[in-house]
Symmetry: C2
Subunit: 434 residues, 2 copies
């Protein structure tokens, strides 16, 4: 079956077999057209009752929309056909008939709500827009991995079933593991840190993470695909360089390899690779700048976390990606290192897109005693994390890293209004199936 020709490759003068979906049937009386669609595009098949067998015409023109068909015939030039060629069929086979009533219109001509589309992803992804998003997502993942390789990373896979969460017992899905209580891991954070203390030094992982957060918003998911990076012997600014590198690589790959998809999404003109280095504002500069916009009802004071409207005000002001560095220690997790000369200040950073936070990262605390003290300050029991803290007694190098969800990257890159558009089968409070 693999000797079929993709529709996009059918050249005049060839005899081909194309297989795909019956996209549309146009009966003009006397002559009829079947449009066959596959992953690469569409092609017109001409049925002229005068010139061919009656049963062939019947099969080709009575097929229901979205049935799977295989058509063999000669490719001829036809300037009036949408792609300039058409097939004059010798044979048509219906490989899988479709019910005439479809839960949504895969041609995208009739709008369906998101919930219906997510319930019927198979049909939804036959439309150009949805398919384009996931082809871009695949391109992004590949580009990010290539970038990681180019800076000497080893790929790792860390466990998803764990005895304790990264940041204690909150926001975890509990699970029964052979009679024991266990959890779905909310982040590879602790495991990737253990690896940079091993002989691997610089690692990445792309895999699922699970967060039992109750909020149901257009930018949160309860299961997401996380891109995690961690490296020994670098500081937080070098980690930011790598982070920026992956993002730029992703944008560049999409610009180079996804012309058609960007066109389908009507983004050809607006899509742009971020050209400059992302500005790095300290937290202090950030709140000053936010307060100066006058967009907030109440001025921010040092120590406040940034509310959504503050992120928005600053995002509008900066107008592109930017980092916020040097956060107050108190609002960053225990594994982020503080400045020795100012322990109120941490070496944590966030990468912001004007629309939302994209990345969290930082220089990590690699000194055993300081790490354990950090646990206690945040009210966590270091005993429960002994498998992790113990390794810091045997020579843990200075290290830094970060993580971001591929869904937020795709969402911000393509201007999607809901993060669920960037996941095949999203998981949220209401949605556990399909």
């Amino acid at each position: 079956m693999d000797d079929r020709t993709y529709t996009v490759d059918a050249e005049p003068g060839e005899r081909v077999t194309v297989a795909g979906w019956a996209h549309e049937i146009r009966d003009l009386g006397g002559i009829a057209f079947l449009i066959v669609r596959d992953q690469t595009g569409k092609i017109q098949v001409k049925f002229a009752p005068d010139e061919m067998d009656e049963s062939l015409v019947q099969t080709g023109t009575n097929v229901s929309r979205e049935s799977v068909v295989s058509v063999t015939g000669a490719v001829e030039e036809e300037p009036r056909a949408p792609t300039g060629v058409e097939i004059v069929p010798e044979s048509v086979e219906v490989l899988a008939p479709a019910d005439p009533e479809l839960p949504l219109d895969p041609t995208g001509k009739v709008d369906a709500d998101l919930s219906t589309r997510l319930d019927n992803r198979t049909l939804d992804l036959r439309s150009g827009e949805s398919k384009a998003i996931f082809e871009i997502r695949s391109t992004v993942l590949n580009a990010v991995r290539d970038y990681f390789r180019s800076v000497g990373c080893t790929e790792i896979n860390t466990p998803k079933i764990v005895a304790t969460g990264t940041e204690g017992g909150t926001e975890l899905f509990p699970l029964t593991y052979f009679g024991q209580e266990a959890f779905m891991n909310q982040s590879p954070q602790l495991f990737k840190q253990l690896m940079v203390g091993s002989g691997l030094e610089r690692v990445f992982e792309i895999g699922p993470i699970f967060r039992a957060e109750e909020h149901n918003t257009p930018r949160h998911l309860n299961e997401a695909t996380m891109i995690d990076f961690e490296s020994a012997f670098i500081d937080h600014h070098e980690a930011m360089d790598v982070c920026e590198g992956t993002l730029r690589a992703a944008y560049e790959a999409v610009e180079t390899d996804c012309h058609e998809q960007l066109e389908t999404l009507d983004l050809t003109d607006s899509f742009a690779v971020p050209q400059q280095s992302f500005p790095r504002l300290t937290y202090e500069e950030a709140i000053e700048r936010i307060n100066a916009t006058g967009e907030l009802d109440e001025q921010l004071v040092w120590g406040d976390d940034l509310p959504t409207e503050a992120e928005k005000a600053l995002g509008d002001d900066v107008g592109g990606h930017y980092f916020i560095t040097d956060w107050p220690s108190e609002i960053k997790p225990f594994y982020i290192q503080d400045y020795d000369d100012d322990p109120q200040l941490s070496k944590g950073f966030d990468l912001m897109h004007p629309r939302m936070e994209l990345v969290s990262g930082g220089q990590r605390e690699h000194r055993h005693d300081e790490l354990v003290a950090g646990f206690e300050q945040q009210g966590l029991d270091p005993e429960a994390f002994e498998y992790y803290t113990k390794m810091f007694r045997y020579g843990m190098p200075p290290h830094a890293g970060w993580a971001y969800g591929v869904e937020r990257l795709v969402m911000t890159m393509l201007g999607l209004s809901n993060i669920r558009e960037a996941v095949l089968f999203p998981r949220d409070r209401q949605r556990l199936s399909p």
Copy 2:
């Protein structure tokens, strides 16, 4: 900190900063050597009390093994040094001291049992052998992905939290999802099939799967990393071609890129890329051949599943990878298609390594009514899988695919005796942490 030089790159005449672990200290009286190890190798640092500051010598020679150090100095040729060069230090900094008592010896000179090694992966991966395994694993994953791209695959990510298991309620880890019962997915099978019915046609996924199997053997895991492939418009033999292609690509990449790792594992002479096409035996031929070996106490009859000793006998007989095709329908899952002219026989296949089963795959049932009948024959309730079966009513193309665990591939490729050697943090009945 990233302006350090890797030990492997230190050239005579240069002034460098190397950072790594204190691998060994040799005090010869009058002169002492500190061996610094990083990801790329080792380098000797010379301490000559006559030629340098006393405090420098003290720092460099009193450091405990496995502490993290940073050494700056001139690189000089020294034929008696292990790598032919040594550093004459100007400064030595201890970045992270290690406890003098280590839970295992990272130089690998003292053997540790697997359990101790798994409890202390950070230290274990500082030894050449363990590190080499995971560098090879990373190379394998990259090679397989590149191969997938070369045959036109789109990368997908499917959900790991699901409402129903792939093959019903057996061997699933139960989980509480916002008050609802849910499970960790045991395979992307049903989701990847839904995708080949969409506009993507040919997909792959590399991600975790979860199986609550109770057996605790050297070749089973309760959490594994699965490589899944599925394609529309191909049959099971074409799926086998792709499967073989990924394996060969993985072996070739390791042969090309992992010389040093193979040497560390003492596999340089024995490692070989499989050169020929893997033989494809039908199940019937397989049982005849197994019976002919005389290795089994009792002869196999048609319909029997192959016990481990049968796989072993046939593996020894064939002497390399081989496929078994055309299995009895009864011992293959509902989603495998049967031959129309002999419904007892399925289009399922397994790829066998002489030591064990590696891959399961097959042509899938793409016809709605036959699929639903298959559910019922296997005692499963098609209602629970309606999200899946429903999509087969809207034009599901003929398709085929397969899956294998990267751990089994690495285990068989490198002749590891226990599959846990190929997972950073394995999960089994006893092991939930780290």
